[in-house]
Structure formats: structure tokens, C-alpha cells
């Protein structure tokens, strides 16, 4: 009988094993950060968002210099021009170059948003962390303060502040941050309270690790992901708030430009010169959508529960 497994005959001998072979891990070594990065790269929407945001940021930095016109330079002989080789996005009612104004506006809007988010981050993280780490009475008082702040409608505070103060980048940022940090503070507090009960933090305590070390080695590294994600959602909402303030006339004043100011101006001539609204609106939509998709992508990529 022809046995097809005859070739296996010589293989019936004990296998040779190297030491430590049984504990070998077949997957490549990856840090949690590398692993997250790999996951993010697989998310096509997030990668496209990242690229779009990159382009937007580059244009916000170099855009105004790509044309010979300055964003504030008026030219009454060339008002309301349609997009052309000379004025790529046309001109507004004072003959200002719209291309220069859009990227200048994007620059200002992003600057306000990033600064506001940074302020939220610093205040919110510090407040939340202190509240969670101190615990007891301190935590109790700090949480009551937060509850009061949440109870007050933030938009009204912002509008009141903007009416009292002189509108500039700094005041808009401060006005938005007065209540903006509350969300971050709550998230950070909840996360740290949860981490404090985790076994690896208990293990650190039994090993004699000092409190400062526990904060810097265990609590902060495990909170950063959540902070980054939350910031990714704070930035677009700050851009939106700025645009809203400018749109109702409480934001920056001409000739200063921000995306909100441009949309406000463009809206007034919507029926005759729609492109004055179209381009800034497109930019703001792209930035907001991209930040949100990227934020979602980061959440999936950084969440260790999903990791297998």
C-alpha cells in the first residue's frame, strides 16, 4: 500500500527544544504608544483628518504670505471681485484680498482655540488632580464649586464678559476658559479616582513608592490619553464659540480677521457674493470635522480596553 505519509517516518523522534522557547512571545515588541500609533494609522478617516489639519495649519502659517496682498490692505478700486488669478478667493467690500484674510483668520481662530484649550487643560487638570488626590473635605468643597459653575449658563457669562471687556484675542480666550475647564477637571478627577483603586497603584503603595512618584509614574501617564482626547474635542468647540461670538458681533473687530468675523461679513452679502461666505465656512467645517474625527480615532487607538 502506498502510504503518502511515509515521508513522515523519520520525524518520529523527540523534538529538540531550546531553553526559554516556551515563553517566547511571537508578536513584535511594541510600547503602548507605538501600539496606539499603529492603530491610529489603520483608521483611514483619522489619517485623512490628520493630513487635512496639517494642511490647514501650514496654510494658516504661510498662507497670508503666498499672495502679495496683506489681509488688512484695502483697495476701493477692487471691491467684490470674484475669485481670479490675481485674488484667488476674490475680494471683500473694502477690496481686501480674501485669500490673505481667510488664512489670517484661520491663524487667529486656531490660535484662540489652542490657547483656550491649553488654559482649560492647565486649570482643569490641576484642579481635577488636586481634588482627586487630596480627597475628603478639600474634594468636597472643590466639587461644590464646580457644580455651581456648571449651574451657571456659560454662554451668558461669556457674552457678559465680552460686553464689559475690550474684544481681543486674549479676552476671548479668557472668557471661554472661565467655565471651559470644568469638563476637563471632572474627567481628570474621575480618572484619577478610578486609577487610585487599581491594583497597580495599590502595588506601588505596598512597594513604598512615594506619593509624588505615584502621581508622576502611574497616575499622569495613564491619564494623558484621556486628556489628549478631550483636548481634541475642546479645540473645535472653542473655534465654534469664537465664530459664534464674532457672528453676533461680540468678537474681534475689522480689520482683524477670524473665521467668525469672515463668516459674519460673508453672510451679509450671501445673495450677491456667496463665495465670501463659502470659503471661510468650508475652512471652519473642515477644521471642526477633522478635529472630531481625529479625536474619535485617538479614543479608539488609545483605549487599552480595546487592545488585545
Amino acid at each position: 500500500m502506498a502510504n503518502p505519509t511515509d515521508s513522515l517516518d523519520p520525524l518520529f523522534v523527540p523534538v529538540r527544544r531550546e531553553n526559554g522557547e516556551q515563553e517566547r512571545i511571537s508578536r513584535p515588541a511594541l510600547s503602548a504608544f507605538q501600539d496606539s500609533w499603529r492603530r491610529l494609522r489603520q483608521n483611514k478617516a483619522a489619517v485623512i483628518s490628520l493630513i487635512l489639519l496639517g494642511i490647514m495649519i501650514v496654510l494658516a502659517i504661510v498662507g497670508p504670505w503666498l499672495t502679495k496682498y496683506s489681509y488688512a490692505q484695502t483697495n476701493y478700486s477692487a471691491v467684490y471681485q470674484s475669485p481670479s488669478a490675481d485674488h484667488w478667493f476674490g475680494t471683500d467690500k473694502f477690496g481686501r484680498d480674501q485669500w490673505a484674510r481667510i488664512w489670517q483668520g484661520t491663524r487667529i481662530s486656531l490660535l484662540i482655540a489652542v490657547l483656550a484649550a491649553a488654559l482649560d487643560l492647565v486649570v482643569g487638570v490641576a484642579y481635577g488632580a488636586i481634588s482627586a488626590l487630596k480627597g475628603g473635605k478639600v474634594d468636597n468643597v472643590m466639587q461644590r464649586i464646580i457644580e455651581i459653575l456648571i449651574g451657571v449658563p456659560s454662554l451668558i457669562i461669556i457674552i457678559l464678559l465680552m460686553m464689559i471687556m475690550k474684544a481681543n484675542i486674549f479676552t476671548i480666550m479668557v472668557a471661554m476658559s472661565i467655565t471651559g475647564w470644568v469638563g476637563m477637571a471632572r474627567l481628570v478627577r474621575a480618572q484619577i479616582l478610578k486609577l487610585k483603586q487599581q491594583e497597580f497603584v495599590l502595588a506601588a503603595r505596598t512597594l513604598g513608592t512615594s506619593n509624588t512618584q505615584i502621581i508622576f509614574k502611574h497616575l499622569i501617564p495613564n491619564t494623558i490619553g484621556m486628556i489628549v482626547i478631550n483636548t481634541m474635542f475642546t479645540i473645535p468647540s472653542a473655534i465654534f464659540t469664537e465664530a459664534f461670538l464674532s457672528f453676533i458681533g461680540l468678537g474681534l473687530q475689522s480689520p482683524q480677521a477670524s473665521l467668525g468675523v469672515l463668516i459674519h461679513d460673508g453672510f451679509q452679502t450671501l445673495s450677491s457674493h456667496f463665495y465670501l461666505l463659502l470659503f471661510p465656512a468650508l475652512v471652519i467645517v473642515v477644521i471642526m470635522v477633522a478635529f472630531n474625527i481625529l479625536g474619535d480615532g485617538l479614543r479608539d487607538a488609545l483605549d487599552p480596553r480595546m487592545r488585545k
Binding site: I25, L30, A32, A203, T206, L207, G208, N222
Partner: protein
């Protein structure tokens, strides 16, 4: 274990209580008046069902929780007494803990070398970087891993490997006493044996003393010299592991023993089991008198009125049950 009576205990627990305030002004008596001793070099097993307070007890011994009342003496020193930072550090270095969840007990963001070296860093046990790495590799090899694993991150390891990393981390500070809080209950059967064998090997080589907390009685019996059985925050029986299994006295221990399924179909078909009725009462509002009386097949009116005393009814065999109580208690049980 006759000589144990003469030995000085390493850990003495006296009337230890740990209560938690829960909502509505109620108190959860997680550990309520527990006393026992652990001798150097032995493994003390602590068993009980979920919510019986065994984990809380372990964590109170190592001062992760403050005691509500009572004392824990480690080598004659009061663990919960007021201490300077250095005194406390010196004491806690000698007591270490191994945790239940191999996933939550390692920090995802640190590599294995940093995880294992954490205690060495805290106590300044390594003079320089090279010595630190050398020690870490030694520890990895002690627990059956190797140098190649040092730079990897926890999520790349299997449950059993992670648990061994947790053991290496505890060993890094060279402790005398290790509290193992359900160290194997999250692991697969074939991996459980690896970890238990490793713990026993380390005990032989380093003269470690263990408090082994588990709900799996067969594993506790295998590893322990003496076993304490807890029910609803109190200890109901304490004996050497052989005595406890050959002659369990407390009705709860008896029920617990018959409830374990035996991996042997013929024995399983033959044996009669004593099924406990009902569920565990809430520890927030435990039954009066003897806590076990609501499920106890022998309970009488006397059990409701009076809590049984903790008595040494045979040499080294302690039990809290009126069936083995003083003469008046036994008489009251028959009435």
C-alpha cells in the same frame, strides 16, 4: 505542627476590625473582630466566598486600609501605629503583596524592567543603572522569564506571565512576608499550577511566609499549612489544612467542602453532598447572633440570640460555633 506553639509568630492579628461607611448612615463590617497568628515560614490559607472580607483583611494587614479597631503586629511591631515615614517604609518593605488581576495589577505604560524595579527604586536598593538591570534579569529568571522580556510591555504577555512579573516585582524588595490576594483565580488551570509551584519554590528557597487568600479550596489545601475559613466578615474555623479537610467542625466549612466539585467522575457519582440553602446575607445588615445561622442546617433559637465564642476546641483547631461551645451553650443548643 507541635513546635509551632513555641515559635514566635511573625504576624499577630488581634481583634482586627475594618468597617466601611456606606450610604444612609449604615456600616459595612467587612472585617469584624478577627484574631489569628501566622508563623515564620508557613503558608496561611484564607478562604471564603465573595464578600466575606478576606481581601479586605489582607489589605488591612498591609495598611492599604486603616484598621477601624484592633491590632496587627508584624515581628512585634504595630503596623497601624503612628510611625515616621522611614520607619513605615522599612516595615512595608518586609511585607509585600501579589494581586488578583494580572491585567490591572501592572501599569500598561511602563515596561517590565521599570515595573519590577519599582520597589528597588523606592527603597534605593540598586546603586546604579547596571546593577538595577542585572537584578531585574535575575528576578525575571527566578520567575521563569528571561532578559529578552525586560523591555517589553505588559499587554504583550499572557495572564500567567503577567502574574509572574507581579511576583518578581514583590520579590525585588526582598520581603519576609507576602500576601497573595487570589493570585491564581484569574488564571487558567494549567497556568495556575505553574504559579503555585513557583510560589512554593520561592518559599523553600527564600524562607518566605505567605498569607494565601483564595476561594478555591482545593488549591488552598494544596499550598497551605494552616487554613482560616471566613464567613461574612468573621472567622468561623481555623485549623491545620489536614485537620480541616479530614474533620471540618463548623457546618459552613462542611458545606464548603462538599460543594467543591471533584475532578473524578467515580468519586463524584458516589458522594452525597450537603447543599447549602439560600444565599449569602448582606454584610451591611448581617443576621444577629451567629452570622451563619440563616443557612445553617443545625441552627436553633440560641444561635439567633448569642454570637458563638471563638474557642480552641482541639489543639490548634479553633472554631466559632455553639455546637462546640461551652457546656451551657451546648445545652442551649439541645434545648
Amino acid at each position: 505542627m507541635a513546635e509551632q506553639g513555641k515559635k514566635k509568630p511573625l504576624v499577630q492579628v488581634e481583634g482586627l476590625k475594618r468597617h466601611f461607611q456606606v450610604g444612609g448612615g449604615k456600616t459595612l463590617k467587612a472585617v469584624d473582630d478577627v484574631s489569628f497568628e501566622i508563623y515564620p515560614g508557613e503558608t496561611f490559607g484564607l478562604v471564603g466566598e465573595s464578600g466575606c472580607g478576606k481581601s479586605t483583611l489582607g489589605r488591612t494587614l498591609i495598611r492599604l486600609y486603616d484598621a477601624t479597631d484592633g491590632k496587627v503586629l508584624f515581628d512585634g511591631e504595630d503596623v497601624h501605629g503612628t510611625k515616621s515615614k522611614t520607619e513605615l517604609k522599612a516595615l512595608t518593605r518586609r511585607i509585600q503583596m501579589i494581586f488578583q488581576d494580572p491585567y490591572a495589577s501592572l501599569n500598561q505604560r511602563m515596561n517590565v524592567e521599570d515595573i519590577i524595579a519599582e520597589g528597588m527604586d523606592a527603597h534605593g536598593l540598586a546603586k546604579n543603572r547596571a546593577e538595577r538591570t542585572k537584578r531585574v534579569v535575575e528576578l525575571l529568571e527566578t520567575v521563569g522569564l528571561n532578559a529578552e522580556h525586560a523591555k517589553r510591555f505588559p499587554h504583550e504577555f499572557s495572564g500567567g506571565q503577567r502574574q509572574r512579573i507581579g511576583i518578581a516585582r514583590a520579590l525585588a524588595v526582598d520581603p519576609d512576608f507576602i500576601i497573595a490576594d487570589e493570585p491564581i483565580s484569574a488564571l487558567d488551570v494549567s497556568i495556575q499550577a505553574q504559579v503555585v509551584n513557583l510560589l512554593q519554590k520561592l518559599q523553600r528557597e527564600r524562607g518566605l511566609t505567605y498569607l494565601f487568600i483564595a476561594h478555591d479550596l482545593s488549591m488552598v489545601k494544596h499550598i497551605s499549612d494552616r487554613i482560616g475559613v471566613m464567613y461574612l466578615g468573621g472567622m468561623v474555623e481555623l485549623a491545620t489544612s489536614d485537620d480541616l479537610f479530614e474533620e471540618p467542625l463548623h457546618p459552613y466549612t462542611q458545606a464548603l467542602l462538599t460543594a467543591i466539585p471533584i475532578p473524578d467522575p467515580r468519586l463524584e457519582r458516589e458522594r452525597k453532598r450537603q447543599l447549602l440553602q439560600g444565599d449569602l446575607p448582606s454584610p451591611i445588615d448581617p443576621p444577629s447572633g451567629c452570622r451563619f445561622r440563616t443557612r445553617c442546617p443545625f441552627a436553633t433559637e440560641h444561635c439567633k440570640n448569642k454570637a458563638p465564642e471563638w474557642r480552641e476546641v482541639r489543639p490548634n483547631h479553633w472554631v466559632a460555633c455553639h455546637l462546640y461551645g461551652s457546656e451551657s451553650d451546648r445545652a442551649a443548643m439541645k434545648a
